[in-house]
């Protein structure tokens, strides 16, 4: 990097940027961590989870959709943003039924690791325990809506990568849910196949390929690192 390359500042560190970069993409390339749940380099950004909210020149923006601007001052780790992020994560936990001790995604779950990194020890809010029946109708993929955080990664992957548009988001407020494009509304009657990217992109344990849940044992998983496992 020559001194003339455009950069912006993230929590005091200079981050090089390329044309078309968002704040999150540039930070990720530089190996700097802006927490997120609904972002993936494989699909377009949706800015639905707001966990990546940063202050860009003092203004709160979603880092995953906001273009990086040379010379901009971006703050991610401020006490108020840390608290906001913690509350967002706590709300995601109480709005679903997230039972980590019984979830085969534990250790590979982005929601879990972001909450651990945010220092979440309690839920703060009333637990809502929504009623969401499990859909095990697909022979190769389990749909466990209790764990769905409505990040829309499967919606975008099915549309943009698989070209199938199996998923959509429907409903309003607390009744918002993942819809499946099939005559019965069940996954088993949809066009989804286990080879689809949408069957694997879920950051939590809501869409899971069957029969491989514990192929990698707990303790050897993606986020079983020092900062989360001591």
């Amino acid at each position: 990097m020559s001194t003339g390359d455009p950069t912006f500042e993230l929590d005091g560190q200079r981050v090089p940027l390329q044309p078309g970069d968002t704040i999150l993409a540039a930070a990720a390339r530089a190996g700097l961590d802006i927490p997120y749940l609904c972002w993936s380099a494989e699909v377009s950004a949706s800015a639905s989870c707001r966990v990546c909210t940063v202050l860009a020149d003092g203004r709160p923006v979603a880092a995953c959709v906001t273009p990086a601007v040379a010379g901009q001052k971006v703050e991610c780790r401020t006490p108020s943003l840390d608290t906001q992020r913690l509350r967002l994560l706590q709300m995601l936990f109480v709005e679903g039924n997230h039972f980590c001790p019984g979830c085969e995604k534990s250790g590979n779950c982005l929601l879990q690791v972001q909450a651990e990194r945010a220092g979440m020890t309690d839920l703060n809010f009333e637990v809502l325990n929504p009623e969401r029946p499990v859909d095990a109708s697909h022979p190769d993929v389990l749909f466990e809506p209790n764990r769905c955080i409505l990040c829309q990664l499967c919606v975008r992957a099915s549309d943009e990568i698989d070209g199938k548009r199996v998923f959509a988001i429907g409903g309003h407020g607390i009744a918002t849910r993942l819809l499946i494009d099939s005559p019965s509304g069940r996954l088993g009657d949809s066009a989804l196949s286990v080879g689809d990217r949408a069957a694997h992109i879920c950051p939590v344990g809501a869409l899971l390929p069957k029969r491989v849940g514990f192929a990698v044992p707990i303790g050897q998983r993606r986020f079983d690192t020092e900062d989360t496992r001591g």
């Binding site: 980590c100 001790p101 979830c103 309690d122 839920l123 325990n129 020092e226 496992r229």
Partner: protein, 177 residues
């Protein structure tokens, strides 16, 4: 140095398992030989370790398990009334945990299918319609997540409280499974 100075007062600690499996208590025991060091600085009030049945005035109360029945609520309120610092210990106390998986089912229906009838005995506490995490009923000062929380998390929490510090779990000691 004044050799006649009295030893500092020991921290009085009560522990209980409400709707829990005692796994969190087992994890506390997993601090192993550090128990000897701990017992120099704390004394136990009501706890499975002492078999004292009612909670007295305490500095710290450790609550394992969520609220499954009316007796759990009564015990929790007694702990809140008598403990200066109340700590929610483990997934069940913090979220309801495994027992809360029954929250989508009718209590009468569950009792009927398990026992063949709805038990009716004055000694049996009434089940709650929903299993509740304890923060929905009383104020909680700190929480130790995990199923169970690691032994080191108990150790750090107690060390912080003994030293008069606000407990902040170290990275790696916050986990939910």
């Amino acid at each position: 140095m004044n050799a006649s100075a009295p030893a500092p007062r020991k921290l009085r600690v009560a522990t209980v398992s409400l709707g829990g499996c005692f796994g969190c208590h087992m994890s506390l025991l997993d601090i192993d030989e550090r128990l000897f060091e701990l017992i120099e600085k704390v004394e136990f009030d009501r706890s499975p370790l002492t078999d004292i049945k009612t909670v007295g005035e305490c500095d710290v109360g450790l609550i394992e398990g969520g609220l499954c029945n009316a007796e759990n609520v009564e015990v929790l309120r007694a702990f809140r009334a008598h403990c200066t610092v109340l700590v929610a210990v483990g997934a069940c106390a913090i979220t309801g945990g495994l027992p809360a998986l029954r929250n989508h089912l009718d209590v009468g229906g569950i009792l009927q299918s398990v026992y063949g009838e709805v038990p009716d005995d004055p000694e049996l506490p009434l089940p709650l319609n929903r299993v509740l995490p304890i923060h929905e009923v009383v104020h909680i000062d700190h929480a130790l997540p995990g199923c169970p929380p690691p032994a080191d998390a108990f150790w750090q929490l107690l060390q912080d409280l003994i030293a008069g510090r606000t407990p902040v779990p170290a990275p790696g000691l916050i986990r939910y499974d």
